[in-house]
């Protein structure tokens, strides 16, 4: 059962990267996350939104959809674009792989999303767009502690 959700539509402007981070950390606040968890969520959403701006829409204007769902202490984040899509997903997710080295991209976006979230799924259709779905359990450690105590 989804207890709360958020749906946000923003144009692919780089100013909106910080907006997306603020909105997601405010939404997650209801779970009373740790500072580290907030920082994990901020970086993950920042990576996905930045990718939509730079890669999906190739710095042209398009719409980015950000969805967040809360079930118990599980937060699911979706970042959706209707941009160019990804031809080879496996290659795209490799650390250091980038198709835009001339823009000083580090190729670490997907690697960061994977290491700071519990689960990352990517669906992409070339010419149609990409959906990045990420899940993170909030307050994992707190829960374990209260069970033990």
């Amino acid at each position: 059962m989804v207890q709360n959700f958020l749906k946000l539509e923003i144009p692919s402007k780089s100013e909106n990267e910080s907006l997306a981070r603020i909105v997601i950390s405010a939404f997650a606040a209801q779970l009373d996350p740790t500072i580290e968890e907030i920082s994990d969520l901020k970086i993950a959403v920042s990576e996905a939104v930045t990718n939509a701006i730079i890669h999906a829409y190739d710095s042209e204007e398009g719409i980015i959809y950000i969805h967040a769902f809360l079930e118990e202490n599980k937060l699911t984040l979706e970042v959706i674009d209707h941009g160019m899509g990804i031809e080879d997903l496996e290659q795209a997710r490799q650390p250091l792989f980038t198709t835009k080295p001339e823009l000083e991209r580090s190729g670490m976006g997907f690697t960061i999303m994977e290491s700071f979230m519990d689960k990352v799924e990517v669906e992409s259709f070339p010419g149609q767009g990409t959906t990045v779905r990420m899940v993170k359990e909030i307050n994992k450690n707190k829960k374990v502690q209260s069970k033990e105590g």
Partner: protein, 111 residues
């Protein structure tokens, strides 16, 4: 993001305040490039003490400066890293190529 620049001998100290992401990366890049074009500074000391957020775009722009500066025989070091930034730094492998010091003075002594 706020950028504070200070030249100490041949070392350009850059203090970053705020958030380093794709949106603010170009401002950082331009400021640093402009200073190095004057050909006075040789090395870059990057103080990240007041950086509240950084993502892979920050890694990319730091790595970009590293490439440009080392090409000309200069060095790049970072100082005052916060725990969040440090996690990113070790995950990316940047720590293997860019030395990290606790304080600016310590970095300056080692340049």
């Amino acid at each position: 993001m706020e950028i504070e620049l200070k030249l100490v001998r041949k070392n350009l100290i850059v203090r970053l305040k705020g958030e380093l992401d794709h949106h603010t990366a170009s401002c950082f890049r331009e400021e640093v490039e402009r200073e190095f074009e004057k050909e006075i500074a040789q090395n870059l000391v990057l103080n990240l003490g007041e950086l509240t957020f950084m993502d892979s775009s920050g890694l990319g722009v730091i790595l970009g400066r590293y490439r440009r500066i080392t090409e000309k025989g200069g060095k790049v070091v970072v100082t005052n890293m916060q725990p969040q930034v440090e996690r990113l730094y070790s995950l990316s492998g940047l720590q293997k190529i860019i030395p990290h010091y606790r304080r600016e003075e310590e970095a300056l002594r080692n340049l």
